[in-house]
């Protein structure tokens, strides 16, 4: 179901014209109102009037997380504080949080975008929306809340925690739409199983899950265990919060970015060069309608890919792939950008290979060498040398096919690759650069 028939299905030519006009307005606005942007634009040799088309976008300077920290708390706001009606802030694992602000109109647009997101999952005013995103400084709870109210659905503002009570209320109130992180959805499923609650007896039909990276196999698990359709949604507070992009329930293949409000680019994270559609790289956003906290070419550090092919759902907005990793993990091997998640996808596609691997990078003379260590479990073990060598060659071949980089697969004994709580250490870079 499409919430905004006019803008979500705008022909791409008209969409690009709208983006160009709004981009021009944005640059004018921030040049006048934000000293930081004026200085950056001057340094880059861009004057407000210079931006005439979307092609000029790649001449504009990037904005980074560090820029946000340096201007803490309100240095990048583009309107006087009298016009700011709300602030949110990211948790910020190191040091100060990242603070973002909204005008009344920003809140209104955000509610529209979250209404679009919820409608992507089929939400109507007859639905009961169980909103387990956290309420507070985090954008998830209130962002989703306003979108559900905009649709006219019944919102249960349950926020996070107290899982048993959540399940009880889900049963008693007849919740139909679930909003939370994908890991919390799995937690709910586990607690239901422990409590003897059969998800088939609930009225839940769809969940919109975001705020952390997840995988296709996790989608399968959530759908099977909760007996619902699970959709991936994307957003970040620096851009607006949730409501930047959402999968449609019709296709579940890539997340439509709401391009009438955000211009998305994919860049090479090493060189900053803009890449054509279809290439994998870092996702960059420019907010073209926000008033209080607009960003120009904000580098998300999230790795994705853009797909402009038409979607059967009818939306014309470009689709981004589910986030496959972070640029912080990126390796450059012989000039090629390699993300551990790409190698993982090769390994996971081979039956029997377990998700325990490590990448060892070294340099011999002036040549980078990539060794991929893979544990040999029973499923792939063979009593014949040729069986194991065929497997190694196959993995090397598929990595070369996908990444264009030669590697050497080293088979290792089980449990020899270090396990870690939480984030696994996938890369050991022994190059002395």
């Amino acid at each position: 179901m499409i919430w905004d028939d006019e803008f979500e299905t705008l022909p791409r030519e008209a969409l690009r014209a709208l983006q160009a006009k709004r981009l021009r307005d944005l640059v004018d606005r921030v040049y006048g109102a934000v000293p930081f942007y004026r200085r950056r634009l001057d340094e880059a040799g861009c004057r407000a009037g210079d931006v005439r088309s979307l092609g000029d976008l790649e001449n504009l300077p990037f904005t980074t997380k560090d820029d946000l920290r340096e201007t803490y708390p309100f240095g990048l706001f583009a309107v006087p504080m009298e016009r700011v009606v709300r602030v949110h802030a990211s948790s910020g694992t190191t040091g100060k949080p990242t603070v973002v602000g909204y005008t009344r109109r920003d809140i209104d647009i955000w509610a529209e975008l979250m209404a679009r997101t919820l409608a992507c999952g089929g939400t109507t005013k007859g639905d009961v929306v169980h909103n387990a995103y956290g309420y507070g400084l985090f954008t998830g709870g209130l962002g989703a809340h306003y979108g559900a109210e905009r649709i006219g659905a019944t919102v249960i503002p349950i926020s996070g925690g107290n899982t048993k009570r959540q399940i009880m209320l889900m049963q008693d109130f007849g919740s139909t739409i679930l909003l939370c992180t994908p890991s919390y959805a799995l937690n709910l499923a586990e607690v239901m199983a422990e409590e003897g609650v059969d998800p088939a007896g609930l009225r839940l039909k769809c969940g919109l899950f975001g705020a952390e990276p997840w995988s296709e196999s996790m989608r399968g698990e959530i759908e099977r265990k909760l007996k619902i359709s699970a959709l991936d949604i994307y957003g970040l507070s620096e851009v607006i919060g949730p409501g930047v992009a959402s999968e449609c329930i019709e296709e579940k293949s890539g997340l439509h970015i709401f391009e009438d409000h955000f211009i998305a680019e994919i860049i090479d994270p090493a060189t900053g060069k803009a890449l054509p559609f279809g290439e994998t790289g870092e996702l960059v956003f420019t907010t073209i309608t926000k008033e209080a906290f607009p960003v120009i070419r904000y580098r998300t550090r999230d790795i994705s890919r853009l797909n402009v092919s038409p979607c059967p759902c009818g939306r014309t907005h470009v689709r981004m792939d589910r986030i496959s990793g972070r640029t912080d993990d990126m390796l450059i091997i012989r000039g090629v950008n390699v993300f551990p998640s790409q190698i993982e996808s090769v390994l996971m596609a081979i039956e029997g290979v377990e998700p325990h691997y490590q990448l060892i990078v070294s340099r011999e003379g002036s040549l980078d060498l990539l060794e991929v260590q893979v544990e040999v479990g029973e499923a792939i073990f063979s009593d014949e040398i040729k069986g194991l060598e065929t497997l190694s060659r196959r993995i090397e071949h598929e990595i070369k096919d996908l990444l264009g980089v030669s590697s050497k697969v080293k088979l290792v004994e089980p449990k020899t690759i270090q396990r870690s709580e939480g984030k696994a250490r996938r890369v050991i870079d022994n190059r002395k650069l």
Binding site: V376, F381, D383, E384, I385, V412, E413, T416
Partner: protein, 143 residues
């Protein structure tokens, strides 16, 4: 007519083979025959033991990757041309030998050789048809 063999994945690191033998002796398992195939990075140790399931279990518990395969034990006349005669039979029947290794023990005047064939059942029927003695598992484990 088949013999159970266990195979173990070993990284080419010092002490791995010793670890296997320690685990087996600790469990009271006796090795009857063995062969080690190796590449630059890893090796595959193949063993015939007196207690296959027990050996497999204790090695798995120690963290090794262990497989179980069926192989064939043949009595080969211990004289020039003894092995050649058997290989000729197999060649004529179009059966491939994946690998083979000799037993230390003898069976009377004959040597015992372990064979891994691409078509195990066909090999057994061809060989028995040609009068070659194929040893039963129990005979081999008890040698």
């Amino acid at each position: 007519m088949k013999v159970e063999q266990i195979s173990i994945f070993l990284e080419n690191k010092s002490g791995r083979l010793a670890e296997v033998t320690n685990v087996l002796s600790g469990a009271g398992v006796n090795i009857r025959a063995l062969s080690l195939a190796d590449t630059a990075d890893f090796g595959i140790l193949r063993l015939i033991v007196n207690q296959t399931d027990r050996a497999k279990q204790v090695l798995k518990e120690t963290g090794f990757t262990v497989g179980k395969t069926e192989v064939v034990a043949l009595e080969v006349p211990d004289r020039p041309g003894g092995l050649g005669g058997i290989l000729k039979i197999l060649h004529e029947a179009g059966i491939n030998v994946e690998y083979m290794y000799a037993f230390v023990q003898r069976s009377g005047d004959n040597a015992i050789i372990i064979f891994r064939f691409d078509e195990t059942d066909k090999a057994i029927s061809v060989l028995t048809g040609a009068g070659v003695r194929v040893l039963r598992g129990e005979e081999v484990y008890a040698l």
